[in-house]
Symmetry: C2
């Protein structure tokens, strides 16, 4: 048990800090995107904090997109989907339990359709969403995702393009009144040159666009992630917002004011990008 009190203390501190972050931005953002790993590293205490923060964000009328990149074979994908997008029933028991009920979940496509469809089924049934990793924001995403597939003469496309085509098909049956489906795609803000091609390949997919800020994505290059309706993308930024108080620019501000100021600035950039997309 050596060190378990340390994890509990860290989890307690994280909960206080992140509750403060939610309070600082709840009226100027539509959603929060917790990163599962940051809670898992603090053990059972950490994931208990995640559970409470999901509830707290919902009380503040925020959507919760859990960045957990889950993936597995069909029977196991069903268990993950129950955990995050659906509910758990037991034979003979009244009611159902919800483990970590979030509004959307990121998932990894390496296992193919049968590992993806259970998530999509739960999303459709319970009015949630999924974001499939297509082109991630990290430098080495090129290694696998950008490999060229030869599909006969004159036809070649990258793995990421192939996944994008699948996302488009997987979303066919869940298009809502704004024209977007329950099946979205993760596209790193660090690859703005590719956004237009992906927008064409996945016209009904919402894009989750991480990587602005600390990872190097530029807020002035976001327009091509949006559709011509000025919709279709959620720009996610984590470290550069929650740790804004460490930036020289916001030096001396209490952490909540620093986070709110940085979030406001990003929001203005996103609004410019939306307007640019709508006027293009």
């Amino acid at each position: 048990m050596l060190g378990e009190p340390l994890l509990e203390a860290l989890a307690e501190a994280a909960e206080e800090f992140l509750t403060g972050v939610i309070d600082a931005v709840a009226d100027i953002v539509p959603a929060v995107k917790p990163q599962a790993a940051c809670y898992e590293r603090l053990g059972v205490s950490g994931v208990a904090v995640l559970r409470r923060l999901i509830r707290y964000a919902h009380e503040r009328d925020l959507l919760v997109i859990l960045d957990a990149k889950r993936n597995d074979i069909q029977s196991t994908a069903e268990a993950y989907a129950d955990a995050y997008l659906g509910q758990v029933e037991a034979p003979g028991a009244a009611g159902a339990g919800e483990a970590w009920p979030v509004d959307a979940l990121t998932i990894n496509p390496y296992l193919g359709s049968d590992g993806v469809l259970p998530f999509i089924e739960r999303a459709e049934k319970f009015d949630r969403g999924v974001f499939v990793l297509v082109r991630t924001s990290n430098p080495s995403s090129v290694e696998l995702q950008n490999l060229l597939v030869s599909a006969g003469e004159e036809d070649s496309w990258t793995i990421a393009d192939g996944v994008a085509r699948k996302v488009d098909i997987w979303g066919e049956t869940s298009v809502g009144r704004c024209g977007y489906s329950s099946v979205g795609a993760v596209l790193g803000a660090t690859f703005p040159d590719e956004a237009r091609r992906f927008r064409r390949l996945m016209q009904r997919a919402y894009f989750l666009v991480p990587g602005v800020g600390t990872q190097g994505g530029n807020v002035e290059q976001l327009a091509s992630f949006f559709g011509s309706d000025g919709l279709g993308a959620i720009v996610a930024s984590s470290r550069s917002l929650i740790y804004a108080y460490r930036e020289p620019r916001w030096a001396g501000l209490p952490f909540q004011e620093a986070t709110r100021s940085a979030t406001q600035l990003l929001r203005e950039g996103v609004e410019r990008a939306r307007a640019e997309a709508a006027n293009a």
Copy 2:
């Protein structure tokens, strides 16, 4: 909170059942492979059970391979690696905490090297291991993993082959005295015809081979997963062992006896495969 008592009751039942499974097989298997999703679907109570079962398996001298298929960009992969293969420290605090300390973890390669190396670094530092998904056991694994990559004239290979080559390189620096490294590969028992090629591509990798039993993998076709030393593979079977009491073959036996009998039978098959590989 509706339904949370249901999850707690299910978690309690799971703990009793799975403790019984461990007791039934602890002296005839080297390792257990819990599936993270099955605990996550039972919420905080569920992952608390996982934490206790890891401890219990270690007390029974079993290795624990956590099947969690984690993956993310570098900074987040570090957090996952700390959670499962390393430890968590805090500035100024004495000691370190271990969230879910397992002996090996399955990981997904879709994000490329920078999302994989933090896991390998922790594995090397703390004497643990990773198993990288190469060719998974599910039917649709062909969709992405079997795509042919064109790498110039006359050279083409599948995505799974490409990942296998990476696994071989990633394992170079951690080869132990039996000739195997800390970096293993997941290869489904459902594709025995490909095992020989993968063995050639990854001579120093331990293979984690799931899919025997319920998923259709045949115990009589396992020899080519092993090296000529009769080592190099861990055959994993879950549902067909823990639910053995449901099989007509073991009808009427208490669940622990059914599980033990099924495990013993699988073990004999694995021993035949090892002998066949060593005599080939």
